[in-house]
C-alpha cells in the first residue's frame, strides 16, 4: 500500500482523487454506489448567489471519446447549499471544495462570503462563467477580469481559494499568473472546451444552447499540456483534471504537475471510476516501489 495522501494549500487529502464539480451533484446519488469516505475530496456542483434553472434541454451530447454539456449552472443557490447540503457533506471524512460562480466579481465575492462562517474546506472559484458586466467575455479568458474576480473573492474569504481556469484561451499561463498574483492559493484546470455538435437529420445543433463544454478522454492530452505549462509558471499548487479515466491517467496528470486530480465525465461511463482510479494509482505505485504518491508530483523529465 503506497501512501496516497497529499496536501494542497494546507489541507490534507487522504488521496488525490476528487469528483469534479458538476458531475457529482452534492454526493447523494453516488453514495448509493460507494461510501463517500473513499474519496480524497468532493467538488460540489457550481453554486451561485441565487437559484438558477440552467439551460433548456437537450443539454448533453456524445462526442468521440467525450461529451458536451450545457447544463448552464443549474443550482439551488448558495443559501440552500449552506443550509441543506453542506452540513451533511461535512459529516463525511472527505475534503469539500465548494465550487462557486457568478456573473460579476461582486456576486462571486458575495457567494464566497456566505461560506466564510461554514466549515467548508476550500473554495473553488469557477471563472469560466460569462461576465455580464463585460459583455459576456468569460472572466477566465481575460487576465484583467480573472485578476479582478480573484481579488474580490480573496477579500471576501479566508478559506483556501482555488481558482478554476478555462482552457479556451491562447495562453493559460498568463491567466494562472494573474490569479496567483491576486492571492489564489491554488489553481484547478481544465474546465471544459467549447464545442458543438449538429444533428444532420434535423439541421439543428444537438444542444439547445447550440454550443457546450467538451470533456472526457478527448481532452486529456490538452489537460496534460496545460497542467504542465501552468505548474511550471506558478508557485501555487495545481489541481489537475480533464479526461482522467484511469489510475494511469491520474498518475500522468500528477507527473505533469498536479497535486490532486479531479474526475469528471469518466464517472458517467463507470460510476465507480473515482474509486477504481484510487485503487489503480495504488497498484501502479506499488508496482514501481514508489512509497508515496507525492514523489511523482511534477516528476516529468522533459526532453
Amino acid at each position: 500500500m503506497a501512501d496516497l495522501s497529499v496536501n494542497v494549500c494546507g489541507i490534507d487529502f487522504k488521496n488525490p482523487i476528487i469528483p469534479a464539480s458538476g458531475v457529482f451533484g452534492y454526493g447523494h446519488e453516488y453514495e448509493e454506489i460507494f461510501p463517500l469516505e473513499k474519496l480524497g475530496g468532493i467538488a460540489t456542483k457550481g453554486t451561485t448567489l441565487h437559484r438558477r434553472t440552467g439551460n433548456i434541454s437537450p443539454r448533453i451530447a456524445e462526442t468521440p471519446s467525450g461529451m458536451l454539456n450545457s447544463v448552464g449552472l443549474q443550482n439551488p443557490g448558495i443559501d440552500h447549499f449552506v443550509e441543506k447540503e453542506l452540513p451533511y457533506l461535512l459529516q463525511k471524512n472527505v475534503v469539500i471544495l465548494a465550487n462557486i460562480a457568478g456573473s460579476t466579481a461582486e456576486e462571486c465575492a458575495e457567494v464566497a462570503q456566505k461560506l466564510e462562517n461554514t466549515d467548508v474546506h476550500m473554495i473553488e472559484l469557477n471563472i469560466s462563467c460569462p461576465n455580464v458586466k463585460h459583455g459576456g467575455a468569460a472572466f477566465g479568458t481575460r487576465c484583467d477580469l480573472a485578476a479582478e474576480v480573484t481579488k474580490q473573492v480573496r477579500k471576501a474569504t479566508s478559506k483556501p481559494l482555488v481558482v478554476k481556469l478555462s482552457p479556451n484561451v491562447t495562453d493559460i499561463t498568463e491567466i494562472a499568473r494573474a490569479v496567483e498574483s491576486e492571492g489564489a492559493d491554488a489553481v484547478s484546470l481544465i474546465n471544459t472546451l467549447l464545442g458543438m455538435r449538429i444533428n444532420i437529420n434535423t439541421g439543428r445543433p444537438i444542444l439547445h444552447n447550440n454550443v457546450g463544454g467538451l470533456s472526457g478522454g478527448a481532452v486529456f492530452p490538452i489537460a496534460v499540456r496545460m497542467v504542465w505549462q501552468v505548474a511550471n509558471a506558478v508557485n501555487i499548487p495545481v489541481i489537475g483534471m480533464g479526461g482522467v479515466s484511469s489510475g494511469k491517467d491520474a498518475i500522468e496528470l500528477m507527473m505533469a504537475g498536479a497535486s490532486a486530480v479531479q474526475v469528471g465525465a469518466a464517472i458517467f461511463t463507470d460510476p465507480y471510476a473515482p474509486v477504481k482510479i484510487i485503487d489503480e494509482m495504488n497498484d501502479f505505485l506499488d508496482s514501481k516501489n514508489i512509497s508515496s504518491v507525492r514523489e511523482i508530483i511534477g516528476a516529468v523529465k522533459p526532453w
Binding site: 458531475v23 433548456i56 434541454s57 443539454r59 448533453i60 443549474q74 465525465a265 464517472i267 460510476p271
Partner: protein, 256 residues
C-alpha cells in the same frame, strides 16, 4: 432510491423485428427491486455515455429483466452485438416508475413505436383491466402484441400506413375509449407529439395520466442535471430531471 452497477449475463437474446432486439438479463438483485416504468443505463463499449433503455419485463422468480430496444445509432448498434452468454454492464434500476393503484378498474396503456416496451410490465400488473393500444409505422415494425395478449389485456393495434390493425394514430381508438368513459388511468410512452395529444385529451376529460419521457442523459441518477425537463410543481416552474424525477411524470406537470 437503490441501484447497482454491475456486469450481468444475457440469458437470452432475440431479434423481434427489423433492428429491434429483446434481451433477457439475469440480474436477481436488480429484478428484485425494479418497478414498471423504471429504466436501465447500459454501457456501450467505446462510448462515454451510457444508453437508457426502459424495463420491458420483470421476472422476480427467475431473477431476470427484459429490455427491448431499437438500433438507432452507434451505441445501440454496439449493444445489439452482444450475444447470449455475454455480460452487459448496467446501472439499474433507475428512475421513478409508474404509479400503480390496485383500485383502478380500467386503465389504458398507450405505446408509440419503441415506446411500447415500458407498457408491458403495466399490462402484467393490470391484466384484464388494461387496454393496450400500440401504434407503429407499419406492420414490419409491430412488436410485443402477443406478449400483451398473454397478460390478459385487450390489445388494439394501429399502424400509420394501415398495413396492420387500424389505419391511423393511437389517439383515434383512444378517443373512442375515452368517450365510453370509465377510465381510471392512462399510461403512455412514445413520441412527444403523441404524448402531448394524449395528455391534452386526459386533461380535458379529467383522467389521471402518466407519461414516460425521454431526454439525453449522462449520469442517469440525478447528479449531473443533464436531463432537465420543464415541469410545474406546486404552481412553480421546476426544472425536473428525467432520470430521477422521471422518466414517468404526471402529464399535468409537464410544460410542453
Amino acid at each position: 432510491m437503490k441501484y447497482k452497477q454491475g456486469n450481468f449475463i444475457i440469458a437470452n437474446k432475440c431479434a423481434i423485428a427489423k433492428e429491434i432486439y429483446s434481451f433477457e438479463i439475469l440480474c436477481p438483485e436488480i429484478a428484485e427491486i425494479a418497478c414498471a416504468g423504471q429504466f436501465v443505463h447500459i454501457r456501450a463499449e467505446g462510448f462515454t455515455l451510457r444508453r437508457p433503455i426502459s424495463i420491458c419485463g420483470i421476472d422476480k422468480n427467475k431473477g431476470t429483466l427484459r429490455i427491448v430496444f431499437e438500433v438507432r445509432g452507434e451505441g445501440t448498434e454496439k449493444i445489439s452485438q452482444l450475444n447470449k452468454g455475454d455480460t452487459i454492464d448496467m446501472l439499474a434500476p433507475l428512475g421513478h416508475g409508474f404509479t400503480i393503484n390496485e383500485n383502478f378498474k380500467k386503465v389504458i396503456l398507450i405505446g408509440g413505436g419503441i415506446g411500447t416496451p415500458p407498457m408491458l410490465p403495466l399490462a402484467q400488473i393490470y391484466g384484464e383491466k388494461a387496454v393496450a393500444i400500440s401504434g407503429f409505422r407499419n406492420s414490419g415494425a409491430v412488436i410485443l402484441q402477443e406478449d400483451f395478449r398473454k397478460t390478459g389485456a385487450e390489445t388494439v393495434l394501429c399502424t400509420d400506413d394501415g398495413s396492420a390493425g387500424i389505419h391511423g394514430f393511437v389517439t383515434q381508438p383512444f378517443e373512442e375509449l375515452v368517450k365510453n368513459g370509465g377510465i381510471d388511468a392512462v399510461y403512455a410512452c412514445g413520441p412527444m407529439p403523441m404524448l402531448k395529444n394524449i395528455s391534452g385529451i386526459c386533461k380535458d376529460n379529467n383522467i389521471f395520466c402518466e407519461i414516460s419521457l425521454e431526454e439525453r442523459m449522462a449520469c442517469g441518477i440525478g447528479a449531473c442535471l443533464g436531463c432537465a425537463c420543464r415541469t410545474m410543481r406546486n404552481d412553480e416552474e421546476y426544472f425536473a430531471h428525467v432520470c430521477k424525477d422521471g422518466p414517468v411524470f404526471n402529464a399535468e406537470e409537464v410544460i410542453w
